[in-house]
Symmetry: C2
Amino acid sequence: MPATRHTTTAPVPLRERRRAAAAQEILDAAERQIGEQGPAALSLRAVARSLGMTVQALYHYFPNRDALVTALIAKAYGELSDALQAAADAERAAPSSAPRLVAVAEAYRDWGVARPEHFQLLYGTPLRYYAAPAEGPTTQAVRRMGAVFQRELFAGFSPAQLAAADVPPLSPPYREHLEQLPLHAQGDLPPAAVALFLSAWGHVHGLVVLEVFGHTAYLGAHQAEVFRTSVRMMLEDVHRRIPAA
Amino acid sequence: MPATRHTTTAPVPLRERRRAAAAQEILDAAERQIGEQGPAALSLRAVARSLGMTVQALYHYFPNRDALVTALIAKAYGELSDALQAAADAERAAPSSAPRLVAVAEAYRDWGVARPEHFQLLYGTPLRYYAAPAEGPTTQAVRRMGAVFQRELFAGFSPAQLAAADVPPLSPPYREHLEQLPLHAQGDLPPAAVALFLSAWGHVHGLVVLEVFGHTAYLGAHQAEVFRTSVRMMLEDVHRRIPAA
DNA sequence: GAGATCCGCCTAACAGTGTTCGGATTCTTG
DNA sequence: CAAGAATCCGAACACTGTTAGGCGGATCTC
């Protein structure tokens, strides 16, 4: 079997373009359905129905449901990353980096609260038998998202400062593993800083997860303030662990 | 229609007992299936099959799938609470309260890591169309679980100390709402302490959620150390905010 | 002990899901 | 224009939760 079929001069993206357009249309319809009915209600038949075609047509654009879901997840991660980046950019004029980190965290929460169905798609397990691919477009999108947060968390600190962060002693193999981790957003991040980042990220994520999944409903309308207070404390605590220049 | 049918002397728990035994058997089979196949694969038909009966028989013990799921969730919360309490009790001899809180946090993680399917049942949304009841046995179990954590987090501090905790200013309505919250484990907890508790709980939960749901798989076998380090820092940070006696 | 009642379980069916096979239609390509 | 590929649909399979109707046996009353 030779490489491809379009052996003529032009790259022949004629048919390909229609394919891509149709696939995009399917993705949009699926996303719409998730936003309306929740991720668990995602149904190939319903997607096809809303597009005026039958189920089997979808199989010409996605090999199976999991592939469609993976594409949806990757897209959602991308949009979430964009939201975080936009929030950070909006606070670029701030004199200190603190408001930028707060803005990023708030953007993370805002995205989850505004679109709980999509948030559940990313962080719940709403689709029975769905297994996320080990390495794919999603992992890359996740890394990008973490990079935004990490950048603003440590903005304004030198590598020397970060390396001297007051962190419990890390075991040598753990240090080594952290050093050769592919989440170095910009320049090398010392292990102590990575440990701080992981803790902070878990902190922010946990607060949002509890709220979006309804486990802190008893807090009512004050959930925004709970989050704001917690993030502020978290930022203070992290900065307190980084020595002054 | 009069009250009940058993108008004889004895309370006639004869049939009731069989009913309860059968219901328990169903619950066990369902839990076994969750442990083996994951919560998303929970199927009434499969449960009935493993018990040698047909689907419709289950409907004589649970009105529908959601009721069975609710019972499973309540049971899982109970077991999780027991695990936390047991971990705290095991460290009762410790001179300081710090190791108890660490032990409770580790127990939370251990439970989630050891039984990821059950953890997903509690904190994911694995069942399509399942809607948790607003007030029921689950909320009570959740409160009990939070109480264990909260107790160990603030053990050894007086109400006066907790009230003077160094926390960002809380808005008056937020303070008021926190004061009349039904999660006062023992004695009244000042709003500042509640804010600290909520932040700490979100922190621990977020770390565990990320790990159990596979979002930090890139950390490999070091995830236990990530957690231990983060919890230690969290505890230091919380205690640093509570003034000395 | 005999009769009435109710409980427990079954067979059958409905609407829904993801997925596959085979044939028909349409549209691009040489 | 003819060849051929890409697209699409009808039908089917195995699975899900749920409901209706009917049968047998255990239980309770007299």
